[in-house]
């Protein structure tokens, strides 16, 4: 119950921040959508970083490391540090310059102008919405999975049907999702992009700080930093996977299992030298079979899992972070920047912020393999570790608030962005700017945001058991496939309207094809382990180049508008 009170206090604090940002709101649509281009370097860094790091970063990375090991960091985090910073520098600053000069608020406005095509906007709008919605689902599902274990036992008579038996009485995911949606909705509703930037900054600081605090407490509970390295599951001479330690809650310390507890066996491995190795601490692909015990019936079943990654998967994953170049919510954050110089801190500090958040999460996930049941759902690993190792309810409440902060700092920007593109690219674009007053434009955006929040909540309840990491990867893959569109628009004068349309169609069709093959959201690799995003990216690039070269070049006035270097 104490944990729940701490979380409730945090949510109230956020609402207060929403009221505060509402007082700074200037009442214009430009202020509501892009904060009147007034955001400085620190707020930009925090809002961009907070937006890109969602449940995927904290809950997803810990869960994936628990499933696959420390390769998770190189697979997603370190390459993101390089690719994201490169995109902020090469794409973000350039788009900001066009946005400021020509008065763009959304991506679609830029593409419509750059390719002299109205229809391109109508083609792109449903695709962007389709791809942002799974990203929103990740947040709501992640929040539900986090809160239920840490509030277990709080209301045993109210919530009698938990997702897992030990979580009886915990706040169910439907209620967490509802509360999170309402809190985010209220401060986005009131403060617009300025409110989102303030809330993001506050929440990013909270989740980075609380993440480090959680890390310190987990290390302490595992018997110190050096002892923690011995905790992950180990392979014996007989290719059996064992847990050498367990956490004794009564003594509040790690104790050795005598004999080691058997949790599974190795089926195959790319390495010959596996004896006494801890498979979560390397990246060699190793197929294993784990035991899973049903806590209700006591029945034991088995399931297979691959630890590590194949090298080809690791290499082709570099296409996934390209998605950042096409995130519509990030485009909106870029446009809030006061000047191009505001980007400097983001370019330098973003990789470091990723490191500060991801290294502890990936380590905790790997350590969890030595103390948690292998069958535990990956999104619940972080909160299960907190629950097991950090006993203090106030601290657990604060740490959980940190996780919620990471989740909500992405949700707000995504909700706002969908409201923005619907209002500006569909309603105002069709009806004409003079048809509505500024107040009416803000009201339309707010109404659409309410609709999209309701729809997302409903979908999240339907997909409540989806794997947060895999769902995120599908969402990122779709945006990566659209990356050739933005890159060509900015750097290739010969890119034409028909090339752009062909590129979008190729990206969407190839993505839908692989998404279908994955069973609509599961993990899916092509051939020797190639991620679908790589193939979708190539298909979209080829379509852009071939069709652009086969059609008439863009008019000289368009080239002059978007390639200012030529004019000087």
């Amino acid at each position: 119950m104490t944990t729940l009170i701490v979380i409730a206090c945090y949510l109230c604090l956020l609402l207060t921040l929403g009221f505060f940002s509402n007082r700074l709101f200037r009442g214009t649509s430009k202020d509501y959508f892009v904060a009147s281009h007034s955001i400085g370097p620190f707020l930009l860094l925090m809002s961009v970083f907070g937006t890109t790091m969602t449940a995927f970063a904290l809950v997803g990375s810990t869960g994936k490391s628990f499933e696959r090991g420390i390769g998770t960091y190189g697979l997603m985090a370190s390459i993101s540090g390089l690719v994201h910073a490169g995109i902020f520098f090469l794409i973000g600053i350039r788009l900001w310059a066009f946005g400021k000069k020509y008065g763009y608020i959304t991506q679609i406005q830029f593409f419509r102008d750059r390719f002299d095509s109205d229809k391109l906007g109508y083609l792109l709008f449903p695709i962007l919405v389709l791809l942002v919605v799974p990203y929103l689902l990740i947040g709501i599902i992640g929040a539900g999975k986090t809160i239920e274990p840490v509030t277990a036992g709080a209301f045993p008579t109210f919530f009698t049907n938990p997702s897992a038996p030990p979580w009886l009485g915990g706040i169910p995911p439907w209620l967490t999702g509802l509360v999170v949606c309402l809190v985010v909705l209220s401060y986005v509703f009131m403060g617009g992009s300025r409110g989102a930037a303030f809330a993001n900054t506050f929440q990013t600081i909270v989740f980075m700080f609380m993440g480090l605090v959680a890390f310190v407490f987990i290390i302490k509970a595992l018997g110190g930093i050096e002892n923690a390295g011995k905790i992950p599951a180990r392979i014996t001479e007989q290719s059996i996977i064992v847990q050498d330690y367990r956490f004794d809650k009564k003594q509040a310390t790690i104790v050795a299992n005598e004999p080691p507890r058997v949790i599974g066996k190795v089926l195959s491995s790319e390495s010959d030298d596996i004896v006494n190795k801890q498979p979560h601490l390397w990246r060699e692909a190793t197929r294993v079979e784990f035991k899973k015990k049903n806590l209700k019936s006591g029945e034991v079943s088995f399931f297979e899992r691959e630890l590590g990654f194949s090298f080809i998967t690791f290499v082709t994953y570099l296409f996934i972070p390209l998605s950042v170049g096409m995130f519509p919510h990030l485009f909106q954050h870029w446009l809030t920047a006061k000047s191009a110089k505001s980007f400097r801190l983001t370019v330098i500090a973003h990789p470091l912020c990723i490191m500060i958040v991801w290294v502890p999460c990936v380590l905790v996930g790997a350590w969890a393999s030595g103390v948690l049941q292998p069958g535990i759902p990956p999104p619940a690993v972080l909160s299960a570790m907190l629950n097991l190792l950090v006993g203090d309810p106030i601290l657990i409440g604060l740490l959980t608030a940190g996780i919620l902060a990471a989740i909500m700092s992405s949700l707000d920007s995504q909700f706002l962005c969908l409201g923005t593109i619907f209002t500006n690219d569909i309603v105002v674009h069709r009806a004409g700017k003079k048809r509505f007053t500024d107040k009416q434009i803000i009201s339309i955006a707010r109404i659409f945001i309410i609709c999209i929040v309701s729809l997302t909540y409903f979908l999240a309840m339907l997909a409540k058991d989806a794997n947060v990491f895999d769902l995120a990867i599908w969402c990122f893959s779709g945006f990566s496939a659209l990356f050739p569109l933005v890159f060509s628009a900015l750097y290739w004068k010969r890119a034409t309207k028909y090339g752009a349309i062909a590129s979008i169609v190729a990206a969407v069709l190839s993505w839908l094809y692989f998404f279908h093959l994955s069973g609509y959201g599961g993990e899916y690799l092509v051939g020797p382990g190639i991620v679908p995003a790589a193939i979708c990216f190539v298909a979209a690039s080829v379509a852009m180049v071939v069709v652009s070269l086969a059609t008439n070049p863009p008019p000289p006035q368009t080239v002059a508008r978007f390639f200012p270097e030529n004019n000087s």
Partner: protein, 74 residues
């Protein structure tokens, strides 16, 4: 150092990211960081340094001027 060197380092970083040379190693650095993780954490720091170099030597100053000038294209 100029723009070309920054671009060269950017491409080099993509190669350095594929650390197949420590793929099957799991020894701990500083007693707690598996080498595969320690290497990539260092890689993140290198990315930040590369970002600083890009700002120092390849900053698009002309875009700033362009954004602040009035729009006369339409």
């Amino acid at each position: 150092m100029g723009k070309r060197m920054v671009w060269f380092l950017f491409v080099l970083m993509f190669f350095l990211h594929q650390d197949f040379w420590w793929w099957d190693q799991s020894f701990l650095v500083l007693g707690f960081l598996p080498i595969g993780l320690a290497y990539h954490a260092t890689f993140s720091i290198a990315c930040a340094i590369l970002g600083w170099l890009a700002i120092r030597f390849a900053w698009p100053a002309e875009l700033e001027k362009f954004a602040d000038s009035p729009d006369q294209s339409k």
